[in-house]
């Protein structure tokens, strides 16, 4: 057992921490207020290799391990969770799906530009009528000669309006339910592919979220990603990695809440003493710190097993469930510690609170995580 980070892991953590401090933190409130996609920062991320973190070097990525990935996303979560979500969904969902299921030709054509950060990726499963019950998606793909024809709509798609390359899940055999779902690589310029409404969100406002519409969109036959009708199985594997990402981001948000609270509690004087001297405040801080460490340990456990090549469905779900609940609690307490100042936009804790909420919803709600964990515990026969 060894809790020590390697030299590379420490170096990556330090680099991203400094980058976030210099280039992100001071701008987060502005991008949030304007709900603007931070292209300027994204281009810098691309230059540093942060859009291909877990993709091997042979495909243009940095070839780093999941522990490093978790460390990076924690730092982004701490600085600006919108950036964390952008980096996470691009890396874990879009790029990783192509890496896990793509042919060599698909990897050269689509994974390389994603990993190099020349294009952004989006990954679309959710539909207006299929959220938690993702296997009931209604988007269809029909093979017609040398191409697939896609019809349907996707909702809440991160990078929906800014991505150059999208991975789209569609039903290829309605009679087979989740065993009739396949994945497709769809380029932005595809005729019949239209970007719909951009969502106006509670939090993560600098992350792009949009609807996608397919009206007889024609996709080359060879853009089927993975085996026909195996899309849902690949999706679950992709989400294992994604949940480690969301969990890391949640730990980062919770840490932001704690760090700001510590600072404020020492500075704010009431009844002639810093509020940090009141036991009621101390207990909040102690609980926040303890839960954050516990959450991080769950995240690093899942990342460690992932690096060992193990299946981490249960561990990733546990990390995501626990870390997102911790982030929510910590950000609520951070506002409480800041009092009225926590409720206004002059202090960033209200943003942490708004951003944290998504961690309990995206890539499977907390309810669905419990379902996944229970299923792993009980086995298939019960559920």
């Amino acid at each position: 057992m060894n809790f020590e980070l390697t030299d590379e892991q420490k170096a990556v953590q330090q680099m991203v921490r400094e980058f976030a401090r210099e280039e992100i933190v001071t701008k987060a409130a502005i991008y949030d207020e304007k709900a603007e996609f931070p292209w300027e920062i994204i281009h810098k991320l691309a230059d540093l290799g942060l859009l291909g973190i877990i993709i091997p070097q042979e495909y243009g990525g940095a070839g780093m391990d999941y522990i490093s990935y978790a460390l990076i996303l924690e730092e982004f979560g701490r600085a600006d969770a919108s950036i964390a979500l952008t980096v996470e969904s691009h890396n874990s969902l879009a790029a990783n799906h192509i890496y896990l299921a793509g042919t060599e030709d698909q990897k050269q054509r689509y994974l390389v530009p994603l990993a190099r950060g020349e294009k952004l990726g989006a990954w679309a499963l959710t539909e207006p009528e299929a959220g938690s019950d993702a296997s009931s998606i209604k988007t269809t793909a029909v093979l017609e000669g040398d191409h697939w024809t896609l019809n349907g709509s996707k909702s809440f798609i991160t990078q929906g309006s800014v991505a150059g390359i999208c991975v789209i899940m569609a039903s290829t055999d309605r009679t087979l339910g989740k065993k009739g779902i396949s994945a497709f690589i769809v380029e932005r310029e595809t005729p019949g592919f239209r970007i719909g409404r951009k969502e106006d969100k509670l939090g993560l406002r600098a992350s792009d979220t949009a609807q996608l519409h397919f009206e007889d969109a024609r996709i080359p036959k060879e853009n089927l990603l993975g085996q026909l009708n195996q899309g849902f199985i690949d999706t679950l594997r992709v989400l294992d990695g994604g949940r480690i990402g969301i969990a890391s981001m949640a730990v980062g948000i919770a840490r932001a809440a704690l760090e700001d609270s510590l600072k404020y509690a020492k500075e704010r004087v009431q009844f002639g003493q810093p509020i940090a001297s009141f036991q009621a405040i101390q207990w909040k801080l102690a609980d926040m710190a303890t839960q954050i460490d516990a959450a991080r340990l769950l995240v690093h456990q899942a990342a460690f097993l992932m690096d060992k090549g193990k299946r981490v469905t249960k561990e990733a779900s546990m990390a995501k469930l626990y870390a997102s609940e911790v982030a929510m609690r910590a950000t609520v307490e951070a506002i409480q510690i800041h009092g009225g100042y926590g409720y206004i936009k002059e202090y960033p804790v209200e943003r942490y609170f708004r951003d944290a909420k998504l961690c309990q919803i995206g890539e499977g709600t907390s309810e669905i995580q419990r379902l996944v964990i229970a299923r792993q515990l009980l086995g298939r026969e019960i559920s």
Binding site: A11, Q14, Q57, A62
Partner: protein
Amino acid sequence: MKIIVCLKQVPDTAATIKVKPDGSGVETEGITYVINPYDEFALEEALRIKERLGEGEVTVITLGPPKAKEALRTALAMGADKGVHLSDPAFEGGDSYATAKALARAIQGLPYDLILCGKQAVDDDAAQVGPAMAELLGLPQACVITKLEIDANRKKAVVHRQIEGASEIMEVSLPAVFTAQKGLNEPRYPSLKGIMGAKKKEIAEHNPSSLGLSPEEVGLAGSKVKILKLSPPPSRATGKILEGEPREQASQLVKLLREEAKII
């Protein structure tokens, strides 16, 4: 073109520094260390020169404890080619002179066309290692530079120096020692690939004997200046809020500035 960059690992400029109760040094617990910011300008300039010329080699050199290797790794991750680490308990506690002497000796054993340093290290602010090293190596020097242009034949350089109220432009024959000032460039961050590649790059280790120096010539023993004691700066007195009508406040203020602050 072979460029040598000297760098020092220092406490992060954002860290709060506490002096040890006995005044013998500063508390190191919980402090993160970084490359001295001025040395980063020097390194960035070296990397840009190499990139501009399309050839060359950047060697980074540091004198410091084993932990200082992190600074070399960061520099290698940013793009430097090789590292040299002067690491031995005998080097510890040295002043600017002892440090410059050891660095100069290590540099004498390397090929170079240009040596770049930061104008000063932000921990002790002595600003002497660069110039002292130039003297020991018998090289021309220009300190606190904000611009550096290498001549086409690579025999000389034109540098801009910040001086009081003006900028001084100098032509210097190479090889030379230049110390970097803020404004020279905007240092890059190490990329992920750079970090992954850094572990494969070579770092040469030196102790006094491998440099042909005796233990008495380095570190505290070889120093001309000894630090007797460190003490924290006096804590700032709390501010005063003047009360009353503007007219009364103004006369109180003048009185305080004259009698207490003694600045008018």
